[in-house]
C-alpha cells in the first residue's frame, strides 16, 4: 500500500477492510457489538480467530525464513517486507476486533488500551529511526554504484589501475561508512593511514555522513526505546481476562507482535544504539509463542555469529554488501597490472555479484521505506481512533 493511500480524516472505519478476514463475519460482528454490556459467547469466535491469525502469521514467516530459495531468507529485504505486511494486516484485524466494543470504556480495558496506545507511540520513534537507517543503506548503495561504474567492463576496454583506484576509493569510503558507531574511531585512523589519503579531507566528509544522518538527538537510543515498548508487557491475569470478556488477550497479543516487529527492524536496519536485549516472556499456551520465540532465537543467533557481531545491521543485503565489497577490495589490493585472464574473470564475477546486490537493494529499499511509513500511519490512526472513542463515550464522574 503506497504511503499516499493514507486518508487522514473521516474515512469510515471499515474502509480498509479489504484484507480483513473478518469481512465475512462483518454482519456477525456488527450484530454482537450492538448488544449491551452483557456480550457473551459471540466474541469467542472472533478472539480465537485473531489468535489463530497471529499464529499463522508467525508460522509462515518462519517457514519462509527456512525455505531453500534464497529470496525470503531470514532478515532479507523481502522477508522484512513480508513481516511488515503481516503486521499491517494483523493490526487491521485488531482494529476491527476492538471496534465499537463497549468493553473498551470499562476497566480493565480502558487501562490496557491506554497502555497499548503508549507502546504504539513509542514505536513511532522507532519507525522514524528506521527511515534514517534506510537512508544510510541508500548512501552505501550509491557508493557501490561508483564501484560498479568504475569496474564496469561494458566497452570491453581492459581494466586498468585507474579504474581500480577509483573503485578502491569508494570501497574504502564504504567500509568506513559501514563501521558500527562504536568502532569507528580507531579503525578510521588505521584505514586512512594505509591508503595515504589526505586524512583531514577524507575524514571530514565521511565522518559527516554518520553524524548528520541521524535525525534524532545523540541521546536517543533504539535499545532504550525497545525496552520502553516492552516494559510491563505481561500476559493478562485471569481476573482481567474475565472482566474484559476475553479482550485483554488480543491487546496483549498485539503488544507482543508490535514489540517483536520493532525489535526485528532494529536488529536488521542501522540505527543509533542498537541493543538487542529484549526478552519475550510469552506463556507457552499461546499458539504464536513458539514460532515467535524460534524466530527470536534465530535472529539472536545471527547477531552472535563471528562475521556479524560488529555489523551495523543484520539485514542480509547489508552482509552481502559488506562481503562483496570486502572481497573486491582484497582483489583490488592483490592485482598486478596488466590483469591476467584469471584475475579478469574473478573481477568480473565479483562485480556481477555486487551488481546483483545493488539491484536487490535498489528495488527493495523504496518499497520498504513506504511500508515503514505506512506502519507509522496506521499506528497513529489507531491511536487517534482510540482517543476519540474514549472521549466520546466518557461519562462524567
Amino acid at each position: 500500500m503506497p504511503a499516499t493511500d493514507y486518508q487522514g480524516t473521516s474515512s469510515a472505519p471499515f474502509a480498509n477492510i479489504g484484507r480483513s478476514i473478518m469481512s465475512l463475519r462483518r454482519d456477525q460482528v456488527h450484530v454482537h457489538s450492538m448488544e449491551g454490556s452483557h456480550d457473551g459467547a459471540g466474541h469467542e469466535v472472533e478472539l480465537e480467530a485473531f489468535q489463530k491469525q497471529v499464529a499463522d502469521m508467525f508460522q509462515s514467516l518462519l517457514a519462509a525464513a527456512a525455505s531453500a530459495s534464497a529470496n525470503d531468507e531470514l532478515l532479507s529485504l523481502s522477508w522484512i517486507r513480508k513481516l511488515l505486511d503481516s503486521f499491517l494486516s494483523c493490526q487491521e484485524e485488531f482494529r476491527v476486533l476492538l471496534y465499537n466494543k463497549s468493553q473498551l470504556l470499562r476497566p480493565p480495558m480502558d487501562r490496557l488500551i491506554a497502555d497499548f496506545n503508549e507502546r504504539s507511540v513509542k514505536a513511532l520513534d522507532v519507525c522514524n529511526a528506521i527511515r534514517d537507517g534506510i537512508e544510510q543503506i541508500r548512501q552505501w548503495e550509491k557508493l557501490l554504484e561508483i564501484v560498479l561504474c568504475a569496474l564496469d567492463n561494458k566497452n570491453q576496454r581492459a581494466l586498468g589501475e585507474g579504474q581500480f583506484r577509483r573503485a578502491k576509493k569508494a570501497l574504502v569510503d564504504l567500509a568506513i561508512g559501514m563501521l558500527d558507531d562504536k568502532d569507528s574511531g580507531q579503525t578510521l585512523a588505521n584505514r586512512n593511514r594505509s591508503f595515504g589519503r589526505n586524512k583531514d579531507h577524507h575524514h571530514r566528509s565521511v565522518g559527516h555522513f554518520r553524524s548528520l544522518s541521524w535525525s534524532v538527538s545523540r541521546s536517543w537510543s533504539a535499545a532504550r526505546q525497545l525496552q520502553s515498548i516492552g516494559s510491563n508487557l505481561a500476559a493478562p491475569r485471569t481476573n482481567d481476562i474475565v472482566a474484559s470478556n476475553g479482550f485483554a488477550v488480543p491487546v496483549y497479543t498485539m503488544g507482543s507482535v508490535l514489540l517483536f516487529v520493532m525489535w526485528t527492524l532494529v536488529a536488521a536496519i542501522p540505527c543509533q544504539d542498537r541493543g538487542l536485549q529484549v526478552h519475550f516472556n510469552i506463556p507457552r499456551h499461546f499458539a504464536w509463542a513458539a514460532p515467535l520465540n524460534t524466530l527470536h532465537e534465530r535472529i539472536l543467533e545471527e547477531s552472535k555469529k563471528r562475521e556479524r557481531k560488529n555489523a551495523c545491521g543484520l539485514l542480509k543485503e547489508i552482509y552481502q554488501m559488506e562481503k562483496c565489497s570486502r572481497l573486491l577490495s582484497e582483489l583490488a589490493d592483490s592485482v598486478q597490472f596488466p590483469l591476467t585472464e584469471e584475475k579478469e574473470v574473478e573481477v568480473r564475477q565479483r562485480v556481477k555479484e555486487l551488481a546483483q546486490v545493488c539491484e536487490t537493494i535498489k528495488e527493495g529499499l523504496d518499497p520498504l521505506e513506504r511500508q515503514v511509513r505506512e506502519v507509522f500511519h496506521r499506528i497513529v490512526r489507531g491511536r487517534t481512533e482510540g482517543l476519540d472513542s474514549l472521549g466520546r463515550g466518557h461519562n462524567p464522574e
Binding site: 561504474c149 548528520l212 497513529v380
Partner: protein, 615 residues
C-alpha cells in the same frame, strides 16, 4: 592561456597530451607531499586554468586514442578526478558558512502579539483543582503574520547568495569535467555531504532541535509552547530562504550539465533536514489532546498551510515527491488534532468538577470558557474550514441526565463552528446548573446562575464575531435565562420576607369593631425584622459583579419591598405605637430599608445591625 612547450615534437596532440599528463601527475596527492599540502584552486588563477585545460586535454585524447594507450590515460584521468574531487570539496568547505543570524529572519512576517485576556480571574482559588488550566490560557497569544496572504507565495520566497560567484564558477568548471568523465556520482556525493553540514549548522542557529516524538510528549507545556513559536519562525526561514537558496546554488553550479542533476544534488542536501523539520510538526499533531494546546496547534497548522504553496514551488521535482506528500499528511493530521482537541475541550468543560464559588460570583470556569471562545473566534478563519461536523454528544434528546440536550433543528443554516460554540455554551450552562445546586442557600444558587449567564451574555455582546456566529436568537434565550434566574432569586429570598407584610391573618374576625390581633402583628414585625436582618447580613456579602445588573436587581427588590413595607407601616403602625416598646417592633423606617438595600451584593461584611437613621 597556452600550455608551456616542454618538448619539440611536431605533433600538437602529443605535446598537448604529454604536458597535460605531467601537470596532472604533478598534482597527484598520493604521490607527493607538496601536492597534498597545497590546493590548486587556492593558488593563483593560472594554475587552476592550466589544470582544467590539462584535464580537458586528457579527456579529448581518451576519445581519440588507440586501445594501447587507454590504461595509462584512464589512470591519469582517475588521478585527475580524485584531485578534482578534493579541490571541489575544498572550495565547498572554504566557502561554506552557516548563514548569519541576521539573514535568518523572515522578512515577510512580523509577529504581532495580541493578548486576548478579557479579565484575569481575581477570584480564582489556586486550591481548586482544575482540569482546564486557566492560567495557561490567560497567557495565550495569537501570532499573526502581517501579510498572511495565501496567494502571494512566490513573492515570499527569497533566495540568498550562499557563495561568491568566483567560487561558483570554479565549482561549475570542476563539475563539468567530473561529469563528462563519468564521475557524476562522486561529485554529487561530495556536494551533498558538505552542503548538508551547512544546512545542519543553519538549523542549529535557527534553534531547530533533534527531538523525538517521545521527547515532545514529555515536554512541559510552557517549554513546548516556546519551541512551537521558534519552530514556526524557523520553518518560514527554511522553506522561504534556506532551501530555495540551496536549490539555486545547485542550479548555478550544475547548470548545463544535464537534466535533474541539480535536483539530485538539491535533494541530497536538503531531504534529511526537511524531513527533520517536518517531523516536529508531525509530533505536535500526534500529541495528546489537551484543551489548552488548541491554539498553538492552530498556529502550527496555519503556519504550515501558509507555507504550502512555497513547499510546492521549492520541492517541485519528482524526487522530492515524498517531502510534499509528508507535508500534506502532516497538515491533515494537524487538522484532525484541532478537531480532536476541540472535542476534548468540550468534554473537559462538561466534566469539570469543581464546586461553586463563594458569594455567588463568576466562576473561573466561566471566565476560562469565555476566554477560550473568544480565542476561537479570533481563529475563526481557519477553524471555520477545519470544523466540519456538528458536535457529537447530546445531539439528540438522549434522555441522559448526564449530558445536556440540544436541538439542532432550530439552528439550521449555522456553520458547524457556530454550532460548536453554541454547544460549548450549552455545556457550560449545564455544568453551572450542576454547581448551583450545591449551594445550601437556593437563592445564592439562582444568583450564581444569574451572574454567570450574564457574564456570558456580556462577553458575546462585546464581540461582533462571536455575536454573529452565535446569533441573536440564542443570545435572546440566554438573556431570558438571566431574567429568569433573577426572578427565581427574588422568589426564593423575598417571598417569605414579604409574606410577613401580608394583610390576612391579622384581622380578628367577628365583631364589627374590626380588630387587629396585636400579638400577631407584633409577631409579624419581629419576624420581618429578623428575616430582613438575616437576609441583609447574608446578601450584603454576596456579589453581583455587573454594575447594571446589580442596580436593576436592587431596584427590583426595592420596588417590591418598599411599597409593601410602607403600606404595612401605614396601616398598622398605630396599633404598635399604642402598645408598649414600639421600638422593638418598628425598628426601621422606610428610608432605613431603602438605604439597606443599597448594601446588597456589595460583597462586604456589614455590621450586625442596620443603620437606623431615624434614631
Amino acid at each position: 592561456m597556452e600550455l608551456p612547450e616542454s618538448n619539440s615534437t611536431g605533433d600538437d596532440k602529443s605535446v598537448g597530451f604529454e604536458a597535460a599528463k605531467k601537470i596532472i601527475l604533478r598534482w597527484d596527492s598520493t604521490a607527493s607531499e607538496d601536492a597534498k599540502e597545497k590546493m590548486i584552486f587556492e593558488s593563483d588563477r593560472q594554475e587552476a586554468d592550466l589544470y582544467l585545460q590539462a584535464v580537458d586535454e586528457i579527456q579529448r585524447s581518451l576519445s581519440n586514442a588507440s586501445l594501447s594507450d587507454d590504461r595509462s590515460k584512464a589512470t591519469t584521468i582517475q588521478i585527475a578526478m580524485a584531485r578534482l574531487e578534493d579541490e571541489f570539496r575544498n572550495i565547498l568547505i572554504t566557502n561554506t558558512a552557516a548563514l548569519e543570524s541576521e539573514s535568518l529572519t523572515d522578512p515577510t512576517s512580523s509577529s504581532s502579539v495580541h493578548s486576548h485576556l478579557s479579565s484575569r480571574s481575581s477570584n480564582f482559588e489556586p486550591e481548586e483543582e482544575f482540569i482546564l488550566n486557566t492560567e495557561k490560557l490567560l497567557e495565550l497569544e495569537h501570532c499573526e503574520s502581517a501579510d498572511s496572504s495565501r496567494g502571494r507565495s512566490t513573492s515570499s520566497i527569497r533566495e540568498m547568495d550562499l557563495m561568491p560567484p568566483e567560487a561558483i564558477c570554479d565549482l561549475h568548471a570542476i563539475a563539468m569535467r567530473m561529469i563528462s568523465a563519468g564521475y557524476l556520482r562522486e561529485c554529487v556525493q561530495v556536494y551533498g555531504s558538505v552542503r548538508k553540514s551547512a544546512v545542519d549548522s543553519s538549523f542549529r542557529k535557527l534553534g531547530i532541535e533533534k527531538l523525538s516524538i517521545g521527547d515532545i510528549q514529555r515536554l512541559a507545556w510552557e517549554a513546548l509552547e516556546g519551541k512551537i513559536r521558534r519552530w514556526i519562525r524557523a520553518a518560514r526561514v527554511c522553506v522561504r530562504i534556506l532551501f530555495p537558496s540551496e536549490k539555486r546554488l545547485c542550479e548555478q553550479i550544475f547548470v548545463g550539465v544535464g537534466t535533474s542533476i541539480d535536483d539530485d544534488c538539491f535533494m541530497e542536501t536538503v531531504k534529511g533536514p526537511a524531513v527533520q523539520l517536518f517531523n516536529f510538526a508531525e509530533a505536535i499533531s500526534i500529541s495528546r489532546r489537551l484543551p489548552e494546546k488548541l491554539f498553538k496547534i492552530l498556529d502550527v497548522h496555519d503556519a504550515l498551510m501558509d507555507l504550502q504553496p512555497d513547499i510546492e514551488v521549492v520541492f517541485d521535482s519528482k524526487s522530492s515527491d515524498s517531502i510534499r506528500v509528508q507535508a500534506a499528511e502532516i497538515l491533515s493530521r494537524l487538522a484532525e488534532a484541532v478537531r480532536g482537541t476541540l472535542t476534548e475541550f468540550e468534554n473537559a468543560v462538561l466534566r469539570e468538577p469543581s464546586g461553586p464559588v463563594p458569594v455567588g460570583t463568576i466562576h473561573p470556569l466561566t471566565r476560562y470558557v469565555m476566554n477560550y471562545i473568544g480565542l476561537i473566534s479570533d481563529y475563526k478563519q481557519t477553524l471555520i474550514e477545519l470544523i466540519m461536523s456538528k458536535p457529537s454528544t447530546g445531539s439528540r434528546y438522549s434522555g441522559d441526565p448526564t449530558t445536556p440536550d440540544m436541538d439542532f433543528a432550530e439552528l439550521e443554516g449555522k456553520t458547524p463552528l457556530a454550532l460548536h460554540l453554541i454547544w460549548i455554551i450549552v455545556i457550560l450552562e449545564f455544568n453551572l446548573e450542576r454547581k448551583s445546586k450545591q449551594y445550601r442557600d437556593a437563592s445564592l444558587g439562582h444568583l450564581f446562575i444569574m451572574n454567570n449567564i450574564r457574564y456570558i451574555v456580556q462577553k458575546i455582546k462585546g464581540s461582533p464575531e462571536l455575536r454573529e456566529m452565535i446569533g441573536d436568537d440564542y443570545l435572546r434565550k440566554l438573556t431570558g435565562k438571566v431574567r429568569h434566574a433573577a426572578t427565581n432569586y427574588q422568589r426564593a429570598t423575598w417571598v417569605t420576607v414579604l409574606y410577613c407584610l401580608r394583610d390576612e391573618g391579622l384581622h380578628v374576625s367577628g365583631s364589627f369593631s374590626s380588630g387587629v390581633s396585636k400579638s400577631a402583628l407584633r409577631e409579624r414585625f419581629k419576624t420581618f425584622n429578623a428575616m430582613f436582618e438575616e437576609v441583609h447580613r447574608t446578601q450584603a456579602s454576596w456579589i453581583v459583579p455587573d454594575t447594571q445588573l446589580r442596580e436593576e436587581l436592587r431596584i427590583s427588590i426595592s420596588e417590591k419591598l418598599i411599597p409593601a413595607y410602607r403600606s404595612f407601616l401605614g396601616r398598622f403602625r398605630s396599633h404598635i405605637e399604642s402598645g408598649r416598646h414600639p421600638e422593638n417592633y418598628i425598628k426601621y423606617t422606610v428610608e432605613d430599608l431603602e438605604t439597606a438595600v443599597l448594601d446588597f451584593f456589595e460583597g462586604c461584611v456589614v455590621s450586625q445591625h442596620l443603620r437606623r437613621r431615624s434614631q
